[in-house]
Amino acid sequence: MAEPLLKIQALSKCFGGVSALNDVSFFVKRGIIKAIIGPNGAGKTTLFNVIAGNLQPTTGAIYFEGNDVTRLSDYHMAGLGVARTFQTTRVFHGMTVLENVMIGRHTHSCAGFFGTALRLPAMRREEQDIEAAARKSLEFVGMGAKANAMAETLPFREQRLLEFARALATQPRLLLADEPAAGLNTRETKEIAALIAKIHEQGITVLLVEHDMSLVMNISDEILVLDFGSKIAEGTAQEVRRNEKVVSVYLGRRDNSA
């Protein structure tokens, strides 16, 4: 088997006395869409934050493209090709849609203080490249027309699309999508699903956390189920749907220990 894009090994995360993640291990093969599901409080967002570099794991290891990235922080991970979108859309207020996406090109550009201060030709060329790449990204998600709008004036659904455009502009090899369907209605969820599929076609591996089962079941190649910080099932949509443990976790147990 080829080296998996992302390898999570015995990952644990404790906050004080509370164990949010418990010895979680899994692979993400290159080029697939993998979803992480589980009831509220299962540790999905914590897992995401640890992978993305926002949090440090207590124990365990993370390998990205074969390299140990366990202790790396979020901006470092972004530079390595891991992009993420946020559950509550976090577009940059006070900046236009285009400028938001142009930030995504930050790690692919290098103009420094002196080049910028003097506006050297190299810097100007780079600016043009940044803008072109950003516009391409906007077109990809269908937001090309709104390039000059202020990000905070966009309706919710478009802010979500903007976040995707911004993440895609970083030319990631792995996209972490945190509840991409959160706050969207049925039609909008289908649009996001189509977008994720389109992203997948570009060869980008997608790892997503999601509650919306229709989205998960329709587009995921593999599903991982978490409960109380531990992995309780992993497999294709079919396999997971039939897994007894998963069913009981979602429908409740007789003794109601949840």
Partner: protein, 325 residues
């Protein structure tokens, strides 16, 4: 796009450089020179506050460091003033880096207090190290020389005005370039949402420190120019009150705009001079202005600027819709 930026700049530069043609009074030129120093400081502060979203209540310290370093190196040790100025900027920059690295991890009130504390310590230093600085009565251990460019000695208000504002205009251009670049976008992103900026690969901690260092260098430059103009430095102009004054200027002009910084500096330097007897009540009036702006107009004079431009482009969009039928 840059044309939109260069045109106002050129107009402003022309106006500034032509003023001495019409105003000959050394007094008024002196006021404008002082406004120039403050513009330099406030532009730096504006980058820190308005763009990176940090607070600094201690910037007068860097202004003072520039002034004292220039005074001591040129007056006490005969250094070439331009070299001393550069060394002063380096000293201020290094100190800003040393203070900035731990401070800029702090947020909000903690950062405000840390910078305030730092500014106070430097002020105490100016007063206490009498053998080095001359203490509360000022530096008298040597004669601070005028600046010279080749054969030209900058020794009257007219020449000081041109030199000061030439430098301010240069730095303004540099800042405009920075703002409209990947660096400027990164700064604004940090201000808007630091965690999201990091998710985009922006090394936020490093940016915050470097912009703080840059602002300290600007303030130091202003201090050196000041020393070679007045030919005297004393701790007075570098107290905490002045740090707060600079912040007030930035806020009045509108934090998110480099033009606002210059406008705020000009306004709050010129205005007091037009009100005689202002001196005694200046603390009160600055406080009142600050309070008023914070309560009612936290966008400042130019704060609405970007919103205004956004509204304009929205209008243009609407017109297009109507035209398309």
């Amino acid at each position: 796009m840059m044309r939109k930026i260069y045109i106002p700049y050129i107009i402003f530069a022309l106006i500034i450089l032509l003023i001495p043609v019409f105003i000959h009074s050394y007094y008024y030129l002196g006021v404008l020179i002082q406004a120039g120093y403050f513009s330099l400081i406030c532009m730096g502060l504006s980058l820190v506050m308005g763009y990176a979203g940090q607070i600094s209540l201690g910037h007068a310290a860097f202004f003072g460091l520039g002034g004292y370093a220039s005074a001591i190196l040129t007056g006490g040790h005969g250094w070439c003033p331009w070299l001393a100025m550069i060394v002063a900027m380096i000293i201020s920059g290094v100190l800003a880096w040393l203070i900035g690295k731990p401070s800029l991890k702090l947020k909000g009130h903690y950062l405000a207090m840390a910078t305030l504390g730092f500014g106070e310590i430097v002020y105490i230093f100016f007063n206490a190290e009498i053998r080095l600085t001359g203490g509360p009565s000022g530096y008298t251990m040597g004669v601070i020389p005028y600046l010279t460019i080749g054969n030209l000695t900058i020794d009257n208000e007219f020449k000081h005005y041109l030199l000061t504002w030439a430098i301010v205009l240069l730095i303004l251009l540099v800042n405009l370039h920075i703002i409209h670049s990947r660096l400027g976008r990164a700064l604004r992103a940090i201000h808007a949402d630091e965690e999201a900026a990091r998710a985009m690969g922006v090394h936020t901690a490093r940016f915050k420190v470097w912009i703080f260092v840059l602002s300290a260098v600007y303030a130091s430059l202003a201090g050196s120019l000041y020393a070679h103009n007045i030919l005297f430095v004393a701790p007075g102009p570098f107290a905490a009150m002045h740090s707060i004054l600079f912040v007030t200027m930035v806020i009045v002009g509108g934090m998110g705009s480099i033009w606002g910084a210059v406008a705020g500096a000009l306004l709050l330097t010129i205005l007091p001079e037009t009100l005689r007897g202002f001196q005694d009540y200046n603390i009160l009036i600055y406080g009142g202005i600050l309070l008023f702006i914070m309560l009612f107009m936290s966008g400042g004079l130019f704060g609405g600027g970007r919103l205004f431009l956004a509204w304009l482009s929205h209008l243009r969009g609407r017109k297009k819709e109507v035209a398309d039928g």
